[in-house]
Symmetry: C3
Subunit: 352 residues, 3 copies
């Protein structure tokens, strides 16, 4: 099913659908790219994704249970396997009803469950991005998930233009020096990059805390950097950090810096809503789990400020559908991302 025919997103690609812990207790219902899915774990410890629609009477399979790797409908007990086939039902012969519902390629990797909403025969797990920090003991990660009532591209725009930090996050990661520093924007194939470097500036509160978390003096001038890398369909990985000024900035040795990767994995839900899997991977003081939690809580508070702005922006754009927006130099990263997405959507159409 497609609940949102107007949704513009590539289909032949991997999206994050959920985290593994979300399907521990039973099946999970979630709309991904306009399609209503039930996600669950099979008896082979693999993940599976089906249409969230029992072929018997149309109940949501996600209201049911998982038994022996099958989703059992919570209404009358139809059992569906990971291929979307009617596998068994007490008192019934269901073989004739195969093929029941659509199944979607699904893979668990790097701490996420990924699904492929497009043509299944094209699904190749090697195309899942390599989140190297997720499989390395040299990195610690903390994060969370939001459902935001905005077009997923507004969130990508947001992350590719960090001048918003000066205004939206004035009390944590924002500072005037961000908007004063012109960004470098580039596109390389299907990747768009926006870089900004600020030298000899005060560290804002979030980074003061991070310096302290790495046992560094938070009150001396720092060099700060932000390198945003978009890869489609919805990944924005941002190299962020500060180093005590004069030690090389982005290239400073570990003992002079606090840095990490802001992880942003974005999945469209409907035309005007998206799932936002966010977090921070850091490669300092990685064994300090209290620090992980502190950073996570701080980041959650900061990203909640974005949520309010984005949902308001979406409502305002909905009310002004014919209005053209500006395209300043700070908007070029988002424009690249939109162009790349448009190219992939066109490729989908070619292969359809």
């Amino acid at each position: 099913m497609n609940t949102s025919n107007k949704l513009e997103c590539p289909k032949n690609t991997w999206y994050v659908a959920c985290t593994p812990d979300e399907i521990e207790g039973g099946p999970l219902g979630r709309v991904i790219c306009g399609e209503s899915l039930v996600l669950f774990r099979t008896d082979k410890n693999e993940v599976a994704a089906l249409e969230d629609f029992c072929p018997h009477r149309g109940a949501q399979l996600s209201l049911g249970t998982v038994q022996d790797g099958l989703v059992v409908c919570g209404y009358h007990g139809m059992k569906m396997n990971a291929d979307g086939e009617c596998a068994a039902m007490v008192g019934q012969t269901v073989e004739k009803f195969r093929k029941g519902i659509r199944s979607y390629p699904a893979v668990e990797r790097h701490g996420y469950v990924w699904v492929w909403p497009g043509e299944a025969s094209l699904a190749n797990a090697d195309l899942i991005p390599d989140l190297h920090w997720a499989r390395s003991p040299d990195w610690a990660f903390g994060g969370g998930m939001f459902n935001i009532r905005c077009d997923y591209r507004l969130l990508i725009d947001n992350l590719m233009d960090l001048t918003h930090e000066t205004y939206v996050h004035a009390t944590s990661i924002g500072q005037p020096e961000i908007e004063e520093a012109a960004p470098d924007t580039a596109r390389d194939g299907h990747c768009a990059t926006v870089s900004r470097r600020m030298e000899n500036i005060p560290a804002p509160p979030f980074w003061q805390d991070a310096l302290k978390g790495n046992n560094l003096d938070p009150d001396v001038p720092v060099d700060r950097w932000q390198i945003c890398r978009f890869t489609p369909p919805g990944s924005v990985m941002i190299d962020v950090g500060v180093a005590h000024a004069g030690h090389g900035g982005l290239d400073a040795p570990a003992e002079h810096r606090a840095s990490g990767i802001v992880v942003d994995l974005i999945t469209p839900e409907t035309e005007t809503s998206c799932w936002y899997f966010w977090g921070l991977a850091r490669n300092f003081n990685v064994s300090d789990s209290v620090l992980t939690t502190t950073i996570r809580d701080s980041q959650q508070k900061i990203f909640t400020e974005d949520l309010e702005m984005l949902e308001s922006q979406q409502r305002n754009l909905d009310a002004n559908p014919d209005r053209r927006l500006m395209s300043l130099n700070i908007d070029r990263g988002g424009a690249h991302a939109r162009k790349i997405l448009q190219e992939l959507i066109a490729t989908d159409s070619d292969s359809a």
Copy 2:
């Protein structure tokens, strides 16, 4: 007025609109079969139903009061009689405004207020079903009412296929033996019946309590029966019970059984919502009012489980309008009911 032109239900028939206690304190507004009604009691102690629309300025009459058997509009005091005529208004001559609004045939009987949304000249109170238990001292009754956001036919389906008890009500009235026993389904004129008998099985918790309520041992094997009888437009009366095994089941003498009639009277509200008047009539230990309350509370909890499933099913079907559902042997009772309703709707059209 008709708020839902797509609503498919017979019009020339009686529907339960409310219970008498709902109109004790004043007029009641309720949408029945897509029509917005105000229900009230006249000075002759009869019930009356009018359009819930003051012909003066369009206020809801149900926000007003009842005086001398007239509904008095709460905005500017227009008084409407049970025939929908403007009867009086202080400072105004309203005779010229008769006929004001539509009135609907309404009758109080068997503990319910019934209305006839179709052609008034066809309304015949003899067509109201005879709920014999409601006028007999040999029976006790307890019940309640839900508003459910689903097509009324989904609720009829639900009640004509009790295999759902195994899954939806696993902790109360459900047990595996239900789905293991094939149903007998039959149609006789405008009545459809689904019967199921289970022999020598453990009683589930609800029926253990009922056996105790009838001073019988709850822990011995029982014979259990469920005989669902649909009559249009929205009545499903279910003979239910258990008897200690080997005493004749449905035909067992009173001292070996606990049994009753599950009362389900369903009235469409809109295309995707309905009013559900439910209850249990029992013919054992009828003077025990505490038992009546206990059973009622237990049944309310059980039927709330259906409500959640049905509303989710409706949303899923709304999102998949072109999808065909299965028709297994357990679905035949509901299919009969839908066919009977369709025939009556066609008859309405013929007489229109």
Copy 3:
């Protein structure tokens, strides 16, 4: 932008948008006549109104701040001046983007902020109604504001037919004598008037309290008057009061009366919602601020009763779009007001 193309209201006229205190802490977002505005105070201590849409990326300017008389967008810092021009943005040259968004004529006067949603060149502050009591030490005023989910004309109807007080406000200002007294209705140019006088009647509770507030005996018979004056687009000023009977009623000397002006200033929000600025101006015991508060609280409670009735009426009319309403003698004041508005709307079209 226009969020409600079906909204029928004059555009070339002044509407109350807010009170000055609502823009003390920062910009205010409000939909006026279907247009989404941001209201703020400039560095010249003037009021200003712009489209609530940042031309950069479409954020609501009302989520931002005011600095040096400019609205600063809370997303990326675009600064807009009172003319709707892009005035400045750190790191950007924005001169080329003038003219950014629409500005609306706005004036602060008589305790309100007024905006002109139509053709700006026609805006003339002299056309703002003269609320004489607002600039006189002989009068005291207390009031408040409601957002009501109804067509603004239903609220005008309500205020031009005070027989509703008998029913909607039975416990405060209503009494049977209101509906028993026939109204005098007149139109003079763009003003409609409905007058009602009641002689030698008991004072209802609200006016008993007012008499006490003016140190007069509340328990003797009074003469009561209500003179409703509509002027477009949304002003209904009502001379109200009671005087001890036999002293001349409306013309009674101050020492025998308690009286005032019910202030009703109504601004459409959307086709089915409006802003209602209400209050009471009185010219007795004006230095008693406790009395001002008591009256205000009482009036708020009374007008909340209207709110519920009006929103229900709107829903009922929405469900019955083709239904014609009555036109009794009590409805003539509202009918005049609607005719006047229709004439002004036609004039708008001529000048468009």
